[in-house]
């Protein structure tokens, strides 16, 4: 029922429809990714009208003040005049430096370091037809102070439109259109003696590997535990690198937990990830937590961790959302 005006045309939104859905239904091309308010690919700017508060959640107060909002979250109750913004995170080109398989399912891609980031933040890759781009979000595993590249771990999905291309056709020297860095899941050295607990599944290791090494580099003193889960043992990667880190930093303890496989190498525990965490970390009070992986895993683990004592303010999470 609500009217929105975009580039001098006025469109009526249907009951319950978001601005993004309404524009797309009317044939307006709006870049978008997760449609869950996370990736910020669909950010637009209101010139006139009152925005629902939730459509600005997660944006910086400076962006909110300029009327930026997430069109995928915006169901306005008053008329709005809106446009695209060039004041969001601008896009830039980055050359692929190299690519290498870390496992059968994970591709490591290193890009030129063309933007500032904190380890654990993510960037969006805009791929394909500029009129109708594919947007994918990947977390950054590298450390700007140590490494002269942006490292991404790309899960190769059998019919994935981007990941298949990256695995099969993308060559070093190719230019990717990237936007970032985004996200609030990173290490802040405000209390170097607190215990840290990192839990991840799949390529959730990418941001955790970055955050973990960042914490060590910044001189974190407290105990650090990394718990990685996978369905099968071959779902783990970077095992040698993690073993080396554990050798170099006695405060670090790395655990591999595998759910549904009987014949394990002996350094992999055979148990349920949630059960493992419950038994090994019965109280998480005072611990800073980092959770990265699929959306369902992050939700479930976040609740479990919170109920075992950690403060909401200390739980940092990066949930990977399925792409539409």
């Amino acid at each position: 029922m609500t009217d929105i005006t975009f580039e001098e045309s006025t469109y009526s939104l249907l009951e319950g429809e978001t601005v993004l859905e309404g524009l797309i239904r009317n044939g307006v091309q709006v870049p978008n990714g997760c449609r869950a308010g996370a990736c910020q690919a669909c950010v637009m700017q209101a010139q006139e009208g009152e925005l629902p508060r939730n459509s600005q959640a997660g944006l910086k107060n400076t962006q909110q003040a300029q009327g930026l909002f997430l069109s995928c979250q915006c169901k306005p109750s008053n008329p709005l005049t809106i446009g695209f913004t060039d004041q969001g995170k601008s896009r830039t080109l980055a050359k692929v430096k190299d690519k290498e398989n870390l496992s059968a399912q994970v591709l490591r891609v290193r890009l030129e370091k063309v933007l500032d980031f904190r380890p654990g933040q993510y960037l969006n890759i805009w791929h394909g037809d500029p009129e109708k781009p594919l947007v994918r979000s990947y977390s950054i595993a590298s450390i700007p102070k140590l490494e002269d590249f942006i490292e991404l771990h790309i899960k190769i999905i059998p019919n994935g439109r981007f990941s298949r291309w990256a695995a099969d056709a993308m060559e070093p020297g190719a230019e990717l259109n990237i936007q970032g860095a985004l996200g609030n899941c990173f290490y802040v050295a405000d209390d170097p003696h607190r215990p840290l607990l990192f839990i991840g599944i799949g390529t959730g290791l990418a941001p955790l590997y970055g955050i973990l090494r960042d914490a060590l580099l910044q001189g974190h003193q407290g105990k650090i535990s990394l718990v990685l889960g996978a369905r099968e043992p071959d779902g783990f990667y970077l095992r040698r690198e993690l073993a080396d880190l554990q050798r170099d930093y006695p405060q670090l303890n790395v655990n591999f937990v595998c759910q549904s496989f009987s014949n394990y190498p002996n350094d992999i525990g055979n148990t349920d990830l949630y059960q493992f965490v419950k038994e090994q970390f019965p109280s998480t009070k005072g611990t800073k937590i980092y959770l990265c992986g699929g959306d369902t895993f992050v939700r479930k683990m976040k609740k479990q961790i919170f109920l075992s004592g950690a403060s909401m303010a200390d739980i940092h999470a990066d949930a990977f959302l399925p792409c539409s």
Partner: protein, 117 residues
């Protein structure tokens, strides 16, 4: 001194929110209402709620409360469970019983909006 100042203002809200939310999530009577919500967003809402019932500055309106709970088919039982968890939280934090009563009364004043009556 106002109720809000007496119990410690924003710091009291910070101290209470984790305890309160944990109680709510552990309460079988109401925990399922929170299964699909984003926990960070929910914690923010609970801070706003606690600020209101502690007599602090807030932007809650009857209309917001009505809208927010309309689809949930809540009954008196659910409402009372929340109040009980709130009282338990305050007891744990050592808030005086007279203040707890005052806070429960403020919470009770929005009952009709929450239950959509």
């Amino acid at each position: 001194m106002s109720l809000y100042e007496r119990i410690g203002g924003a710091a009291a809200v910070e101290a209470a929110v984790d305890i309160f939310y944990r109680k709510v999530l552990s309460d079988d009577l109401i925990s399922h209402f929170f299964d699909t919500v984003d926990m960070d967003a929910q914690a923010a809402k609970q801070k706003a709620f606690l600020t209101m019932v502690f007599g602090g500055p807030n932007q809650y309106s009857g209309k917001d409360l009505r809208e927010g709970h309309k689809h949930m088919a809540l009954t008196e039982l659910h409402f009372d469970a929340v109040i009980e968890n709130l009282a338990g939280t305050l007891q744990e934090l050592g808030v005086a019983q007279t203040d707890i009563n005052e806070i429960a009364a403020i919470a009770g004043s929005v009952k009709d909006d929450v239950l959509n009556r």
